[in-house]
């Protein structure tokens, strides 16, 4: 059959030529199709920033959007250049991407796969976006990634931590800079064993959805390898707001550590409940009772307030990283300066990862000399870079996952400000976090350029 799918920008250009002064309709069929979906033919290129703007993750989405706008500024040569100055690849010159000015459209994922796909499709079909990025949940990331694969555009994942995104649901057109559950487990377990001892009994509360499962599994496996015992693992409905009935039995269960595999509002509420029930002050099995939150974010820490003090977890990045751990993490300060000067507060890890993703995408296009997703894939596959705040990093070609150091952090006892809630305890080198891409299954497939 003859394909009649057309790229939008391609049509625009030819339309402008053919339509100049002509009232006759011009109809395009397969023969005039562009080389790939939404090939930018004008003087600009459009990126789609698809972030949660309504619902409980709206603040995280707003922070991602700030970072995107900052990245666009820097790519177009405005502002102070941010991490473009520290980035190891020097292909980007502040002249847009491949000489085309970067423009963007925004959309609301509502943190629902359906809405996120609708928004992404409108960016692709209506606005001619050549790349979609953003999101703050794994469900959305997996759904939008699959859509981008079908449509033939690139997806640069935002905040998504589930193993699935680059594991069983990985796609050739999708890329993730953020770390994942496996890395959290691998980074956290040694520190926990060191701090709390190897003879611990853990009680897991796990959010009842895909991310929760992979995180529980990762933390369990790696802590059990350290000698810990898992007393129980209870699934909590995603819609739970009051966790008291799950927290109440913990103290008498024989456990002496509570692991909260929760994120966002779930985590804020479950941690608040745990502290209310006096778990932090209690003793069990002759030891001080401890609470662990595998995945931290600053916005969550802000929501939980004083309750995070002393509680361990991991993050992908933190704005104080370069100050604390030195110049290996160069780029961090440049980004914080740039972001802080513009918005008045430090960026979150969600902002950082989305900024990096935008730069990485732009750089890949620049180096590949094309916006074609297949070219981008080639340029990003096994790409080794530095200077984006996480130290030396590898974009692995076999699953499109970034490998870099991970941070083990702890809630600060006496924060100086509302942004200064987490302190870095340890940094796990990326070698310790690398795994065989085959363990999660899934197939990458081949890149799809759309047209």
């Amino acid at each position: 059959m003859s394909k009649t799918t057309l790229t939008r920008r391609g049509v625009l250009k030819s339309g402008a030529v053919a339509g100049a002064g002509v009232a006759l309709p011009t109809i395009f069929t397969a023969s005039s199709a562009a080389a790939y979906m939404n090939e930018p033919t004008g003087s600009s290129v459009t990126l789609g920033f698809n972030v949660p703007q309504t619902g409980p993750y709206a603040d995280e989405g707003a922070d991602e959007l700030r970072a995107y706008m900052l990245a666009v500024e820097h790519l177009n040569g405005e502002g102070d250049g941010g991490m473009m100055n520290t980035f190891s690849s020097k292909a980007l010159t502040g002249n847009g991407i491949l000489g085309k000015k970067v423009e963007y459209v925004t959309g609301d994922t509502q943190t629902k796969p359906d809405a996120a796909r609708a928004s992404a499709r409108s960016m692709i079909e209506k606005d001619g976006a050549i790349m979609i990025t953003g999101g703050s949940s794994s469900g959305v990331a997996v759904a939008v990634q699959a859509l981008c694969q079908e449509a033939g555009v690139v997806f640069m994942a935002g905040l998504t931590h589930s193993n699935d995104t680059t594991g069983k649901d990985k796609k050739a057109n999708g890329f993730r800079h953020f770390f994942n559950s496996y890395m959290t487990g691998a980074a956290l377990a040694p520190i926990l064993a060191n701090e709390y001892g190897k003879d611990r009994k853990a009680y897991h509360l796990t959010a009842d959805y895909n991310w929760g499962y992979t995180t529980e599994e990762a933390v369990r496996t790696s802590t059990e390898a350290m000698g810990w015992e898992t007393v129980a693992a209870v699934k909590t409905p995603l819609a739970t707001t009051d966790f008291s009935s799950f927290i109440a039995p913990v103290l008498n269960s024989g456990a002496d550590v509570l692991v909260l595999n929760h994120y966002g509002g779930n985590m804020v509420n479950s941690l608040t409940s745990a502290v209310q029930f006096g778990l932090r002050a209690a003793e069990a099995n002759g030891k001080q009772f401890q609470v662990v939150v595998p995945l931290y974010s600053r916005l969550m820490a802000q929501g939980a307030g004083k309750n995070v003090a002393g509680i361990y977890g991991t993050t992908n990045w933190h704005w104080s990283l370069e100050n604390v751990a030195g110049s290996r993490y160069v780029g961090t300060n440049a980004f914080v300066q740039s972001f802080g000067a513009k918005y008045g507060f430090p960026p979150s890890q969600a902002a950082h990862t989305t900024y990096c993703q935008t730069l990485l995408y732009a750089d890949a296009c620049q180096r590949a000399g094309t916006f074609n997703p297949c070219g981008v894939q080639e340029a990003l596959a096994d790409f080794e870079f530095d200077g984006l705040g996480n130290g030396p990093t590898l974009y692995r070609g076999s699953d499109h996952q970034c490998f870099k150091d991970a941070l083990v952090v702890r809630g600060k006892e006496n924060p100086d400000s509302q942004f200064d809630l987490l302190e870095t305890v340890d940094i796990t080198p990326r070698e310790a976090l690398t795994y065989d891409p085959a363990i999660f299954g899934g197939e990458l497939g081949t890149c799809n350029p759309g047209a």
């Binding site: 799918t5 625009l12 002509v22 499709r121 960016m123 209506k126 759904a143 497939g445």
Partner: protein, 395 residues
């Protein structure tokens, strides 16, 4: 024509013309003009218009005719979606089996839920349907993950069996198609700056919507439809008139559920992913709002309501401050910033606010929904000609 009265025929023809010309009508602004952001004539949104139109038409058959307010109708949409994706995975990527089976599965699910819920009426019925839908949602998102894909949703995959299709070695998941015509295929026409996209999937969905609309008209005008309206009006009298309301209600509930299942099947035919949140109470609430917004018990109202809500969701949420500044750049700087500051809370991340205000505005000023707006306009036009135009009850 087609066994319809003159009035209904002209309504059907009008809807058919609108559906056929939607790609043109919904893109009133030239491609590069500042207002192009308000264009809605792109495949995804047009597909959503007609698919949610079907959902709302079906819901209105239940709510509009019988007055039974189901607060769990999204469960059928979800069940249909899951069934549809499974068909695409197991059987064939051709959309026909997916659409048929999703309708059937939703119908069976509706028999089960309807049989139990219809033992009660009024708000007790509403809460029973809500409870069933919420249970379906909660289970689909968690313990039923192997069947439903959990929170991530059920998707097609490269290694799906698709027993009726040949071997796929393209390295990419095949796209849903109708005997080779891919739902994503489009024909684009460019006329002096206007760009129109005629999308295959949209027309498939649009034709099915017209059929669904036609069937709805027939149901409204049939003896069955009258009995349903009689149930709303006076169930006691109907019982004492020798009619058993139970099977009437159940049949109506199942038909309505099948419409929802059809909508779910079409959704996955256009975009092969089924997420659990499709079953959540907010999704059920949305179709209630669509119907009331458009006009309860009217034929065309639910379609209009569905269109309006989806338009807001997809167009207003995408307007950002950058765009606002572009639009108002003709104003002096200070004034531009001022205007942008005033409008900004209502667009982009504030689109919910606009939606909420619209709900309130419509229901305060137009108690009959959007259809009443249309009636008022046409009345004010025809006032001079003859004011005795007989006002038939809203149908």
């Amino acid at each position: 024509m087609l066994g319809l009265s003159k009035k209904d025929t002209s309504l059907l023809i009008a809807v058919a013309v609108l559906v056929a010309l939607a790609p043109v009508l919904l893109n009133p602004f030239p491609e590069n003009s500042a207002l192009a952001q308000f264009n809605a004539g792109y495949p995804d949104l047009m597909q959503r218009f007609v698919i949610f139109g079907i959902f709302a038409i079906g819901f209105n058959i239940l709510f509009g005719l019988t007055g039974y307010l189901s607060f769990g109708h999204a469960a059928f949409l979800g069940a249909g979606s899951y069934a549809g994706v499974w068909m695409l995975k197991l059987l064939t990527i051709n959309v026909i089996p997916a659409i048929l089976i999703s309708t059937v599965v939703a119908g069976l699910f509706a028999i089960l839920i309807g049989y139990i819920s219809l033992r009660r009426s009024g708000i007790y019925f509403s809460i029973l349907t809500l409870a069933f839908a919420q249970m379906s949602f909660a289970l689909a998102a968690s313990v039923l993950t192997p069947i439903t894909g959990g929170e991530t949703g059920l998707q097609t995959a490269l290694n799906d069996p698709r027993i009726l299709d040949g071997v796929n070695d393209s390295g990419n998941i095949p796209a849903p198609n109708l005997f080779g015509l891919e739902m994503g295929d489009s024909l684009q026409v460019n006329v002096a700056g206007w760009l129109w996209t005629f999308n295959a999937g949209y027309y498939v969905a649009g034709i099915i919507m017209l059929i669904a609309f036609y069937v709805a008209i027939r149901i409204f005008r049939s003896p069955f439809g009258i009995m349903l309206r009689a149930i709303k009006s006076n169930q006691q009298r109907l019982n004492y008139t020798g009619l058993n309301t139970r099977p009437y209600m159940l049949a109506c509930f199942v038909i309505s559920g099948m419409y929802a299942g059809l909508a779910g099947g079409l959704m996955v035919a256009m975009d092969p992913l089924a997420g659990a949140e499709r079953m959540q109470w907010t999704a059920s609430g949305e179709v209630v709002l669509m119907t009331i917004l458009g006009g309860v018990g009217t034929l065309i109202g639910p379609v209009l309501g569905a269109g309006l809500i989806k338009y807001f969701e997809n167009i207003f949420s995408k307007i950002n401050s950058n765009l606002l500044h572009k639009w108002f750049s003709f104003l002096p700087d200070g004034l531009e910033d001022f205007v942008v500051t005033i409008i900004y809370p209502f667009i982009g991340k504030g689109w919910h606010l606009t939606l909420g205000l619209m709900f309130m505005g419509v229901i305060i000023f137009l108690p009959g929904g959007l259809v009443e707006l249309g009636q008022r306009i046409s009345r004010s036009f025809s006032k001079n000609k003859n004011d005795a135009a007989e006002q038939k009850p809203a149908e």
